[in-house]
């Protein structure tokens, strides 16, 4: 099919969808689909476009407002008119491509005689997404969002998006879990990270409360905020708007505004500061007794200074296969560092025996809000030197794009997860330095 033919099929598809094909046009469509495999491929893709487009938020033309929006005449609305919230719906998701090959499904369905969540729906899921009801049972298939449902995302690139009727969204990111209560009025972050983009709400009852173990954000309205709950601390980072943070007891804590981040410790102590920008230069400080940022890996000492060793750890990307890895924490919102294609990454390492390994960064778009992620991978050998000498690995992000999950968005990228992996072989890897420098700085310059 040529471009003219492509456009003709688009026209026929749209009219076919409206049951508005003349008999000759119906015959033409049937003939094209029967004889041309490319046309059939295009027809399938058009159908996919229709399915995906059906999940877009409602649109109000700018020349109209909600009060004056005209309803179409009954004879113009076919039986396939959009059903209201009283009918069950199935919301779509993109098939997984970045995670372990597991796609996600959006589902929202009313059960017979069961309490259901009518206000918020699961509209997108990527990667490993599991729904469990209040009893802990896995909700099969398309999952109903009942009150008390827990949504768990697994994997660095997994995410699930909850959407309210007005288009406000809550995105559950990476290895995280949230519980939905009271028709979406209460969202409990059980672990991990979630971003909330809540449109201005004129009525107080329309404002959701977001909470984690250590902090509660009540009646959020007109704000874009990231909430993170780790093992020891919680963080509230406001990208836009203002939120009122309080202790779980209800005692007021702080008002957090645009560009501010509130960090809360397990004992309730909290600190507020301006949100530091994601740096373009980075130098991991292994001198700290408990170096911040390593979730998997053990710190050790060498005569030349501290270093990090891998731990034998079940990697969910490889279906729980235990591998020797060093993994950072995942500060999704702020990230560890920003990468350009020609940034320079330098790693000082040594191994006891040469073997295959990889250095990986999980990255997201530079600008929020966005849940898109990708992977930068360096795959090569960690080379053992004589007498246990240290080696330098130098690589640029432009050399780390040859993998299936490379980001489908341009640089700059914000790296929020760093992984060293030697798979199932213990090479005796030790990492003593990890530096990132932007393209304009020579690699010897000190990073801040």
């Amino acid at each position: 099919m040529n471009q003219q033919g492509d456009s003709r099929l688009d026209d026929l598809f749209i009219r076919y969808w409206d049951n508005a094909l003349a008999p000759a046009e119906a015959e033409e469509l049937a003939r094209v689909l029967e004889c041309d495999p490319v046309a059939r491929d295009q027809f399938q893709l058009l159908s996919m476009q229709a399915v995906a487009a059906a999940e877009l938020p409602p649109y109000i033309p700018p020349q109209l407002d909600r009060q004056n929006l005209p309803a179409p005449a009954p004879e113009e609305v076919t039986s396939k008119a959009r059903r209201g919230w009283s009918r069950r719906r199935l919301l779509t998701a993109i098939g997984g491509g970045l995670a372990a090959g597991i796609g996600g499904i959006l589902a929202w369905r009313f059960g017979r005689g069961e309490e259901v969540n009518r206000r918020v729906k699961l509209v997108s899921a990527q990667g490993g997404v599991v729904l469990r009801d209040a009893a802990g049972n896995v909700v099969p298939t398309l999952g109903r969002i009942l009150s008390g449902t827990t949504i768990t995302t697994q994997g660095f690139s997994a995410n699930a998006v909850l959407q309210y009727r007005d288009g406000s969204t809550i995105c559950v990111l990476g290895d995280s879990a949230v519980a939905v209560h009271d028709d979406g009025d209460q969202i409990q972050l059980l672990q991990g990270t979630a971003t909330a983009s809540i449109l201005p709400q004129s009525e107080p009852e329309g404002r959701p409360t977001l909470a984690s173990q250590l902090v509660t954000l009540r009646k959020v309205s007109g704000a874009f905020v990231t909430l993170a709950q780790g093992a020891l601390t919680a963080e509230v980072e406001v990208h836009h708007g203002t939120v009122a943070a309080s202790h779980p007891s209800g005692e007021p804590m702080a008002v957090v505004g645009t560009g501010e981040v509130l960090t809360i410790r397990g004992d309730g102590e909290h600190q507020m500061r301006r949100t530091p920008p994601t740096p373009d230069s980075f130098n991991w400080d292994f001198n700290r007794p408990s170096p911040g940022g390593w979730k998997v890996g053990s710190r050790g000492e060498t005569p030349a200074g501290p270093m990090i060793r891998p731990e034998f750890w079940p990697d969910p990307f490889y279906k729980g296969t235990e591998m020797y890895q060093i993994r950072s924490e995942q500060p999704w919102a702020r990230g560890w560092f920003r990468l350009q294609t020609e940034s320079t990454i330098r790693v000082r390492y040594r191994v006891k025996k040469t073997g295959a390994g990889q250095l990986c960064f999980c990255v997201r778009r530079d600008k929020l809000p966005s849940s898109e992620t990708g992977m930068l991978e360096y795959n090569g050998d960690f080379v053992a030197a004589e007498a246990g000498e240290w080696q330098w690995l130098t690589v640029h992000p432009s050399e780390m794009l040859a993998n299936r999950y490379s980001p489908r968005f341009a640089a700059p990228w914000v790296a929020f997860l760093v992984i060293f992996n030697t798979y199932e072989s213990d090479l005796g890897l030790e990492i003593a330095e990890f530096r990132v420098t932007p393209p304009e700085l020579p690699h010897g310059a000190d990073a801040p």
Partner: protein, 190 residues
């Protein structure tokens, strides 16, 4: 996957429910799109997909592998979609064409469809709000082009042309995404 059967005899692998679900999750867009292409109603297609998933779980002991699940599901949703159109006296596509649209899951077209699904959602996000709105009115709200035209104070032909242009822009954007480029969708506005 759980093996069953006596040691030494040929074993038949059956899929656990979670495995069946995950296959259907991965192929959800493709299966629903097949149903939607028949019934021309996305929400009805969604319901049909749900029915197929439940039926697949009931029949999970019959599936050998993921390809089997997909092939079975495509056939099942097609039958349900055709029944749906007949109950509503809507003429479906001819059987020989539906046979062709049910491409085997292992062929290159099947692989491309799953990758294109991911690229498609990205490209939808790049559309101008008015273009997204036009698509949502058409396929989400189920409005005909004349109904949309009445709402937007435009002619039906203009709406048809806009929709055609948007579909083409999405197709081109998806192709660019699949080939590594990261160009914007273009002037896909209504």
């Amino acid at each position: 996957v759980r093996a069953c059967g006596f040691q030494g005899r040929e074993t038949r692998m059956t899929l656990e429910p979670d495995a069946v679900v995950q296959v259907l999750l991965r192929q959800r867009l493709r299966i629903t799109a097949l149903a939607a292409s028949v019934v021309r109603d996305v929400h009805a297609a969604d319901d049909l997909f749900q029915q197929v998933v439940l039926a697949a779980l009931e029949a999970r002991g019959e599936f050998h592998d993921a390809d089997h699940v997909l092939a079975w599901s495509l056939r099942a949703v097609r039958h349900r979609a055709v029944d749906w159109t007949r109950r509503r006296q809507i003429r479906p596509l001819p059987d020989e064409i539906l046979d062709l649209l049910e491409a085997p899951s292992g062929d290159p077209v099947g692989i491309l469809l799953s990758d294109r699904g991911e690229a498609l959602h990205h490209c939808l996000s790049l559309l101008a709000p008015s273009a997204r709105g036009l698509l949502q009115m058409k396929y989400g709200e189920g409005l005909t082009a004349p109904a949309i035209a009445g709402r937007l104070k435009r002619s039906a032909d203009a709406v048809y042309q806009s929709l055609s242009r948007i579909h083409r822009c999405l197709r081109e954007c998806v192709e660019r995404q699949l080939h590594g480029a990261n160009a914007p969708v273009g002037e896909a506005t209504s």
